[in-house]
Structure formats: structure tokens, C-alpha cells
């Protein structure tokens, strides 16, 4: 196994960890963290893809864009979580299930 494949394996594991977190944790902050882990996995994937296809320059600029967008999503979701905490007094995703059926 060469370096790139090893890193790709790392990406898959990191992505899996994030999805696992989304599937099982009920804590809203932890859910945001899980999303961030997935985001980081994707960023590493781009870095590997850049080296594999010898387009490092392109990959770098893409990664910067992704980081920006990723941060925006994190900011908005955290802002929402704060609102949830303030208005509903909970951080448990299970209690956020009044909209059903």
C-alpha cells in the first residue's frame, strides 16, 4: 500500500467516524462536531486527489473554498443550536421531534 492509498483509507475511516456519530449521538453539539469530522475527511480527500492527479494547485484552491463553506455551515448550525438551547432549554435531538407524521 502506498502513501496515497493509505491516506484514502484514513479518509474513509474519518468519514465513517463522522457518519457513525451522526447516526448515534443525540447531543446537538456532538452532531455538529460529527459534521465537522466529515468535512475534514472530505478536505483530506481533496488533498489526496490533488496529488494523485498532479493538480495540487487546483486542489489547494478547492480546499480553501471548502474550508470557508464548512465554517459557514458550522457557524450557522451552532447559531441554531444556541437558539434551540435558549428557547427550548435542551440540547437533545430526541426532544426536537415535535414535527412528525
Amino acid at each position: 500500500m502506498n502513501d496515497e492509498e493509505l491516506t484514502l483509507l484514513g479518509v474513509v475511516i474519518l468519514f465513517g467516524v463522522g457518519v457513525y456519530g451522526l447516526l448515534l449521538t443525540h447531543h446537538l453539539i456532538k452532531i455538529v462536531i460529527a459534521l465537522q469530522i466529515i468535512g475534514k475527511a472530505v478536505i483530506i480527500a481533496f488533498a489526496v486527489a490533488g496529488t494523485m492527479s498532479e493538480r495540487v494547485q487546483l486542489a489547494q484552491s478547492l480546499i480553501v473554498t471548502i474550508i470557508v463553506a464548512d465554517t459557514m455551515v458550522a457557524v450557522i448550525s451552532l447559531a441554531l443550536v444556541i437558539q434551540v438551547k435558549q428557547r427550548l432549554g435542551t440540547l437533545d435531538a430526541r426532544e426536537l421531534s415535535n414535527l412528525r407524521r
Binding site: L22, I31, M52, R55, T65
Partner: protein
């Protein structure tokens, strides 16, 4: 042809949306809504120029740094649809949102949403496709959670942002794999490479799942009823009438870079979406939630038509799917706006139940008629637009001459009948002679809201009687897809 009209079209709402945000602070006499309307009027002008240029020169392109924009038949059609419903929603909102406060934020976000959607349909590069898509999701998330003092809006907002972030991570992963495999992200270059690799096929799967979240394909749909029902009605109209359909176009653009026959899978998703959407709506009592579920089923028809187009390489499948896209934008837009008009006149903050509208036709004959037209059109009855687009989709399916597809068309037609079982009772309630007290005491609906409803109702009837009206715009759009999936 290299031209800057494409860039202007997209940049106009995007660049001027901050202006809508601050204008009221600079001069209290200028209402941000009217400014937004002005900006959209300018955008219409630019679209006219672009359409003229397209007519003469064919596909238009524009390059800014790394980003390349391209206006082909499909983008032109989609931009037309986006501006149509967008403009009518803004006109509607001038009165609807007048008392809500936060008008500055509202119009700035609406402009942002419209601009990003137009950017999304005009891109020719996989990564930019994602950037626009993410931008659309982010501006959408603000709008879903617009009433942030209401717990239900917050709940819908959280679900929306988490689920769409996961979907967008799928897409990004797919893009990274494409980059690793091909070394380029330009859609046409990738398609020309025509590579057969397992990696790329998996990428297609990631794209369907990723965009599927935003398109509300079953089983990725779970966020949709919450988000579409909780947003302000004008936004519900945009989300249900445009955002999910634009996501469909984004998916189709992305899928062109993977040489694999996606027809069967899309047909399957279409059929499942129709049935699940209808069944979920059948026993629903909250009217906005019902409309949201019905979007699932309508999305099923579009995906079915386009699936048939890919499967059998027929122009009619693509054209039918896109035709239904446009008609659904009008009909679902009208339905949400009409329901919004009732919410406005009842001054309610509770979710509107169907039974709340008992006898509404007595007090509000025109709005009741508009809502009835929208619902009957969604149910596929003539002389309304939905009938014609469904006919085209079904015709494309039957013309494949395969027994299984014929059976699926029958199934789809049965689903239309099933959908009447929840649309029609709403109309019965509207035309009841006993009237709910709240309805009798409801306030009058302002003229601008009525104007939007009138235009949409008229358009639905006119297209239903003369479906050839849009053929000129639909045919080039469908041809783009046919060529892209032509293998």
C-alpha cells in the same frame, strides 16, 4: 459565444442583495421589497438579452478566473422558471411580509437564493456546481428558520442544515474521487474522457444520494415536510417550487460525467417517490405539510419522465420532465401562496388545518378558486397545466414499447387518481356552505397578493389549454440533456 450577459444575470441579484439589506437603514422611504423587485426587473431585462443572444449564437459562456459560466438551453429555461416564480413571490411578499418585520433580511436572502439558483444552473464545472449548491443550501437554511422565535422553525432548521450538510459531504467526496480519477473537473472534459471505472460509478451513487437529499428523493426526504411547512409561505413556494427542482438539474449535470445508464434507477426513484409522497399526504390534516408531501410525489413524476428519457433516449421524456418542473413551480407556488393568503387573513400562528378553511369560498371566492385550481392542476386534471405535462411524461413512457414501462405508466396514472383523494376533499371544505367563524371575521387580502395569485392561476389555465406555449423553451433544454446523456 463569449458574453457577459450570463455573468450579469447571476451577479445582479447576488451583488445587490446587500443593498436590499441596508437600504432601509440609509433611507426609510425606500422599501427593500420594492428594491428587490427592481433588481429582479433588471434581471428579466438581462435574461431577455441573453435569450436573444442565445437564439442567435447558441450556447453562451463567460469566464471569471477559475469559474466558467455557461448558458445553454437548459440554463436558460431554468433561469426563466426561477425568475418567474421568484418575481411573483417577491410581489406577493410585499404585503405578506409587511407586518413580520425583518423585511431587510427577508428580501436580501430571497435575492441571494434566486441568484445562487441561477448560478447553479449556469455552471459547467463540477466544483462550482457544489459551491453554488452549498450557497443555495445556506441561504435556504436562513429562510427555513426565518421565524427563529418559534420552536418548530428552529427544529426544522436544525434538521435541514444537518441533513443537507451530510448530503453535500457525499457530493464533495464524489467530486474528490472524480478529481483523483480524471484530473479535471470540467463536466464536458470529463464526459469526453468517457472513462469506465468502478470509482466513477460509485461517484454516481454518491451524487444521487447527495443531491437526492435536496431533491427529497425517498428515503432522503425526511427533512422536507418540516422545512417546507415551517418557512414563511412565500419561501415555501420557492423551496417547493424551485429549490428541489433546481437540485434535480444539478444532479443531472453532475451525472453526465459518469458513463453509466442511470435511467432504471431514476425511474425506480420516481415511482417510489410518487407512491410514498401520496400515501404520506393522504391522511395529513395540516395543509402546508400536505402540500410538502405532495411535492415528493410531484418530484416523482419529474424524475420518472427524465428517467424514461435517459433509459430510452427520447426527447419527450426529458421534455415532459422539464415541462412538469415548470408547471409544478407554478402550481405548487400558487398552492403555497394561496394558503399563505389564508394564513395572512386569519392572522394565525398555529399550523393551518384543512378544517380551518371550512366555507372559505364564501368570504374569499378568488383565493379559494386559486387554491382549487392549484390543487386540481397538481392532481392532473384538465384544463390545467399539470394535465399536459403528465400526458407528455406518460406518452414518452408508453412510446418505449416495453410492457414493464407501460405498467409503470399505469401505476403513475393510478397515483394521480390517488392524489385526488387528498386534493379534492380540501376543495369540498373550501366550498362548504357553513363557514368557520374565524374565516368570516378574517381581514381582506391586499391587492398585490391577489395579483400574484391571479397571474399564477391564469398561467396554469393558459398552459393547460395551450401547452405548445413553452415548447420553444423546453425543446432546447431537453435537447441539452438528451445530448449529455446520449452516451
Amino acid at each position: 459565444m463569449e458574453t457577459n450577459s450570463v455573468a450579469t444575470l447571476i451577479a445582479l441579484p447576488l451583488a445587490l442583495s446587500p443593498a436590499a439589506y441596508i437600504v432601509e437603514r440609509l433611507n426609510r422611504k425606500i422599501h427593500p421589497g420594492w428594491l428587490a423587485l427592481l433588481i429582479l426587473a433588471l434581471a428579466w431585462g438581462v435574461l431577455g438579452v441573453a435569450a436573444y443572444e442565445f437564439d442567435r449564437e447558441g450556447t453562451l459562456t463567460y469566464r471569471v478566473g477559475m469559474m466558467q459560466l455557461q448558458l445553454d438551453g437548459l440554463s436558460l429555461f431554468a433561469c426563466g422558471a426561477i425568475l418567474t416564480l421568484g418575481t411573483l413571490t417577491v410581489i406577493y411578499s410585499l404585503d405578506y411580509m409587511a407586518e413580520e418585520g425583518a423585511a431587510d433580511k427577508y428580501y436580501a436572502l430571497v435575492l441571494l437564493l434566486l441568484g445562487t439558483m441561477m448560478g447553479l444552473v449556469c455552471t459547467r464545472d463540477l466544483f462550482n456546481l457544489w459551491v453554488w449548491f452549498e450557497a443555495m443550501a445556506i441561504s435556504g437554511s436562513f429562510l427555513v428558520a426565518f421565524y427563529r422565535e418559534q420552536p418548530a422553525s428552529l427544529e426544522a432548521g436544525v434538521k435541514y442544515i444537518v441533513q443537507s450538510a451530510l448530503g453535500s459531504a457525499f457530493i464533495l467526496l464524489g467530486i474528490a474521487l472524480v478529481l483523483a480519477e480524471t484530473g479535471t473537473l470540467d463536466l464536458q472534459e470529463i464526459a469526453q474522457l468517457n472513462q469506465d471505472s468502478v470509482m466513477l460509478w460509485a461517484v454516481g451513487g454518491l451524487f444521487i444520494a447527495g443531491f437526492g437529499v435536496k431533491m427529497a428523493l425517498v428515503p432522503f426526504h425526511t427533512w422536507l415536510p418540516d422545512a417546507h411547512a415551517q418557512a414563511p409561505s412565500g419561501i415555501s413556494a420557492l423551496l417547493s417550487g424551485l429549490v428541489i427542482e433546481v437540485a434535480l438539474i444539478a444532479l443531472l449535470r453532475a451525472l453526465t460525467c459518469v458513463a453509466f445508464s442511470w435511467g432504471t434507477l431514476l425511474i425506480a426513484f420516481g415511482v417510489v417517490n410518487m407512491l410514498v409522497g401520496n400515501l404520506l399526504a393522504l391522511r395529513q390534516t395540516q395543509i402546508k405539510r400536505l402540500l410538502a408531501y405532495s411535492s415528493l410525489s410531484q418530484m416523482g413524476y419529474m424524475v420518472f419522465g427524465i428517467g424514461v428519457g435517459i433509459y430510452a433516449q427520447t426527447l419527450d421524456g426529458f421534455e415532459g420532465g422539464l415541462f412538469h418542473f415548470f408547471n409544478h413551480a407554478l402550481m405548487k407556488g400558487l398552492a403555497f401562496l394561496a394558503v399563505g393568503a389564508f394564513i395572512y387573513s386569519l392572522e394565525t400562528h398555529q399550523p393551518l388545518q384543512i378544517s380551518d378553511l371550512r366555507g372559505a369560498s364564501r368570504r374569499y371566492p378568488y383565493i379559494a378558486l386559486a387554491l382549487s385550481l392549484a390543487l386540481l392542476g397538481l392532481g392532473g386534471l384538465p384544463p390545467l397545466a399539470g394535465f399536459m405535462s403528465k400526458w407528455q411524461i406518460f406518452a414518452a413512457g408508453i412510446a418505449v414499447h416495453e410492457p414493464l414501462i407501460t405498467l409503470l405508466v399505469i401505476f403513475a396514472a393510478l397515483n394521480s387518481v390517488l392524489s385526488l383523494a387528498y386534493y379534492a376533499p380540501i376543495i369540498n371544505v373550501l366550498y362548504s356552505r357553513q363557514t368557520q367563524v374565524e374565516i368570516e371575521q378574517g381581514r381582506a387580502v391586499p391587492p398585490l397578493m391577489g395579483l400574484s395569485l391571479l397571474v399564477l392561476s391564469g398561467a396554469i389555465v393558459v398552459i393547460g389549454v395551450y401547452p405548445g406555449l413553452l415548447h420553444g423553451a423546453l425543446e432546447p433544454a431537453a435537447r441539452v440533456l438528451l445530448t449529455a446523456f446520449g452516451g
